[in-house]
C-alpha cells in the first residue's frame, strides 16, 4: 500500500471514520513489531537519560562519593557504604550502572544536540538554496557535495586535530560532519515542493518569501528530514564513541559511553569484562533501537517503496 503524505490530499480511506494523516502514519509505523520494540526501548533509554541523577544509586562524578578501595569490583559486589554494584565498579570505585546512566545522558546529549544544530544549519542552507536558485544554489550545493565526498571520520579527525579537545569542540566537529546531509535532503524536497500549486497560491496571495519559506515550504519538507535526523543521531553517537575511543573525543570529565568502553578496553584481557562490556551493550542497544525506528520511519514515510 502506498503511504500518503499529508500534502498530497488524503483520499478518503474506507476504514476509520476520522482518518488523519498522523493516525495513518502511526498505524503504518506500528505494523512492524521490531520497530515498536525499538521505539519502546528507545523511549526507555531517553527516560533513563533524562532522570539519571534521580535514579542512579551514586553520582559517579561527585568525587566525594568515590573510593578507590571499592575499585574493580565485579557485578553484584557490595560497596563500603553498603549498596550493591549491580554491574560492578570501575577502577575508581565508580558504580557502572550509575556510570552508564550518566553516560547515556552525555552520549544522547551530544548526539541529539549536534543533530539539532546540524539540522538547523542544514535546513536553513537547504531551504535558502532551493528558494534562491541560480548561482547561490550552485555554490551552496557544490560545498555540500564536496563536504559529502569526504568520509565523516576523516573530517572529524582533522577538525579535532585542529580544534583540540573539549565537549563543544566534539559537537562542532559532529555538526560539521552532518549538516550537509540535511542541506541536501531539504533542498531536494524543497525543489519538488516549490513547483506545487499550494506554494504558487501562497505567493499569489502576496505572502512574504520568508513566510512562504518557513510556514509553508518547511512543514512539507519534514518527513524525509525526520528520517535523516533519526539516522544521523545514531551516526553521531557512534562517531562520538569512536572518536572518544581514539582518544581525541570527549574529555574524561564528560564520560560518554564511548569513553567508558575505552576506559575498560585495557581491562578486557584481564577478565574484568564488566567495565567495558556493559557500556558497550548500552551503546549497542541505543544505536540499534534508533536504527530500528529510523528504518521503519523510512519505510513508512517513503511513498516510493511498497510494502
Amino acid at each position: 500500500m502506498a503511504t500518503v503524505l499529508p500534502h498530497e490530499g488524503v483520499e478518503s480511506a474506507p476504514v476509520a471514520p476520522v482518518e488523519t494523516p498522523w493516525r495513518r502514519f502511526a498505524a503504518d509505523f506500528l505494523e512492524s513489531p521490531l520497530a515498536v520494540a525499538g521505539l519502546v526501548v528507545l523511549l526507555l533509554i531517553v527516560g533513563i537519560a533524562l532522570v539519571a541523577p534521580f535514579i542512579s544509586p551514586q553520582n559517579p562524578y561527585d568525587l566525594n562519593q568515590l573510593d578507590i578501595m571499592d575499585g574493580n569490583l565485579p557485578p553484584g559486589a557490595k560497596s563500603a557504604p553498603g549498596y550493591i554494584y549491580w554491574l560492578g565498579s570501575d577502577d575508581q570505585g565508580r558504580d557502572m550502572l550509575s556510570g552508564i546512566f550518566y553516560g547515556l545522558r552525555i552520549s544522547l546529549g551530544v548526539g541529539v544536540s549536534s543533530a539539532v544544530l546540524a539540522l538547523a544549519i542544514g535546513l536553513t542552507v537547504g531551504l535558502f538554496a532551493a528558494y534562491a536558485g541560480g548561482k547561490v544554489e550552485g555554490f551552496l550545493m557544490r560545498v555540500v557535495d564536496i563536504q559529502l565526498s569526504f568520509p565523516a571520520i576523516l573530517v572529524a579527525l582533522i577538525l579535532l586535530a585542529v580544534l583540540g579537545e573539549g565537549t563543544w569542540k566534539v559537537i562542532a566537529a559532529l555538526v560539521t560532519v552532518q549538516w550537509a546531509y540535511y542541506a541536501r535532503t531539504v533542498r531536494g524536497t524543497a525543489l519538488v515542493e516549490r513547483r506545487k500549486e499550494y506554494i504558487e497560491a501562497a505567493l499569489c496571495l502576496g505572502l512574504s518569501h520568508r513566510r512562504v519559506m518557513f510556514r509553508h515550504l518547511l512543514p512539507n519538507c519534514l518527513p524525509p528530514l525526520i528520517v535523516v535526523a533519526t539516522v544521523q543521531v545514531a551516526h553521531a553517537i557512534a562517531l562520538e564513541a569512536t572518536l572518544s575511543f581514539l582518544g581525541i573525543g570527549l574529555p574524561i570529565t564528560s564520560p560518554s559511553l564511548g569513553l567508558l568502553i575505552a576506559n575498560g578496553f585495557e581491562y578486557l584481557l584481564s577478565g574484568k569484562y564488566w567495565i567495558s562490556f556493559f557500556p558497550g551493550v548500552a551503546l549497542l542497544v541505543t544505536i540499534v533501537s534508533i536504527n530500528l525506528v529510523g528504518d521503519q520511519l523510512r519505510d513508512v514515510l517513503n511513498p516510493r517503496l511498497q510494502k
Partner: protein, 530 residues
Amino acid sequence: MNRMSWRVLAGAFAAAMISIANPFAIGPAGAQDLTIGLGANVTSIDPHFHNLSPNSNVATHIFDKLIDQDEQQKLVPGLATEWKSLDDTTWEFKLRRGVKFHDGSDFTADDVVATLKRVPWVPNSPSSFRIYTQAITAHEIVDPFTIRFKTAAPYPLLPTDLSTVFIVSKKNEQAPTGDFNNGKAAIGTGPFKFVEYVPGDRIVVTRNDAYWGKKPEWAKATLKLITNNSARVAALLAGDVQLIEAVPATDYAKLKTNANVALSQIVGNRVIYLHVDSYRDQTPFATDKAGAVLPNNPLKDARVRKALSKAINRPAISERIMEGLAIPAGGVLAEGFFGSSPKLKPEAYDPEGARKLLTEAGYPNGFGLTIHGPNDRYPNDEKVLQAVGPMFNRIGIDTKVVTQPWATFASQGSAPNYAYSLMLVGWGAGTGEVSSPLRSLLMTVGPGRGGSNRGRYSNAKVDELTNQALATVDDAKRDKLLQEATEVAMADVGLIPLHYQINVWGTRKGLTYKPRADEYTLAMSVSRSN
C-alpha cells in the same frame, strides 16, 4: 552474551585449541629468532637524531657507548675499558682494543672524535644529544686507544653523560639521518647488525658474530612496535611475540597466573609526582569555593603543600590503581640509586593532620583547586590523578580534575606558559642518579637548571647543595650532598612525590628477561631458561 556462557565457551575452546594452535603461532620464527613487542614508537635509527628513550633502546642493539649502564644503571665499561679524572677538569679514557665495526673497520679514538663532532651537527634534530657532550671543551688523542677530555669547570657527571652517547664510525660523521634509517650508515660495533627498519612497524637486526662482548643467544631479533597496551598483551598471549615490555598494570594479575607466560620486574628510575606552583603570588587554579581566583596563592605556603601530601593515600593508589606495580614514594628516585636518601619515607596518609595544617595556614574550610595531568603519557596517569581528586576533597579542598593529551598538556604546563597550578608529571632519571631529577625539577629555573621545574620551586639551600654536588668529583662526598639536597627539598615539599614505577616485562614460558631499571628492552638480555 551473559557471563557464564562466555566463560564456558572461552574456557572450553581455549583448553582444546591452545595446545594445537601455538606451534603454528610461533611457527615462522624459529628457535634462533626472537620477536619483541615494544610499547613506544621509535622515530629513527640515527642514534644522535632524537634524544628519546625508545630510540636509544633500539640503538643499544646496533651501537656501543664508551661507558655502558648495567641493569641497575651502574656505569660499566663499554668501548672504554677504564676512565679516570687526571685533575678536576681533565678525564682520560682508555679504549678497548680489537673492536671492529660491522663493516670490518677498526674502532679507534678517531671514531670517538667523529661522534663528538656529529652530535651537535645532526640537522633538524627535535632534541639533540648535545646536552651530554657540551661539557667537553677540548679533546686530545694521546694514542689511538687513549683519549683525554677537558671541561671548563669540574664536571663529575661526564662519565654518566657519555654513557648515553652512541659511537658511530668516522666514515659517517656527516651521514644524514636518512642514511641511518635505510641502513647505509647504520654501522656500529654493537651485538647486532642492522637489517631493516620500517617506520612505525618494526626493526630487524641479526647477530654480530664478531662482537667483542658476550654474544647474544639469538641469530635474529625483530623489534615490533605495538604501542597499544591491549594489543601488545594479546600478541604475547597469542604467541606472536616472545617478549613484551611495559606490561600494563591492568593485565599484571592475569598474566601472573598464566601458565604460558613468565614475568620479570624491577623498581624503575621513574617517579610520578605532583608539581605545585609555589612561585606565583596568585596562581590561576587556586580559587575560593565560588570559583574566584584567590588573591594569595595558598600553594606558596609549605604547610598547605604538606597538607596536600598528607591527604594522599599512597598505598591505596599503588595497590588499587597501579595494581601493585608501584611503590609509594618519599623522594625523587627510589632507594638503591646513587644519591637517593634512605631517610626519605613516603608521607603517611593522615587526613586529620592535613586538615589541622590547613587550619594553621589559614584555610580551615579549604579552597577550590583544579589539578591537571596528561592522559596518554605514563601508565594510568589519568586514573592516578582522578584518584587524587577525591582525596583532596576529603580534607575540604574542592578539587576538579582535568586531563589532556600530552601534546596539549606539555606545551601549556611547561615554560614559558606555566598555565597550571598543580599538575601530575613523571620523571625518569636517565642518568640513574639523583642529580638528574634535582637539577631539572627542583633547582631554580635558569640556564642549564630547572628545565622541567613546572612549579618553579625555588630554594636557595637546595640550589647551593646541588651545585656543590655537581662540582664534586669524589663519589662518596657527592652521594652525601645529593642526599642532603633532596632531604631539604622534601622537607619543604618542593614537589609531592606519589610513587616509583615498577617496570614489568612478560615473556613466553621458557624465556627469561633480565629486568632493567632504565626501562630498556634488549634482545641481549633475553635468554632461555634452564
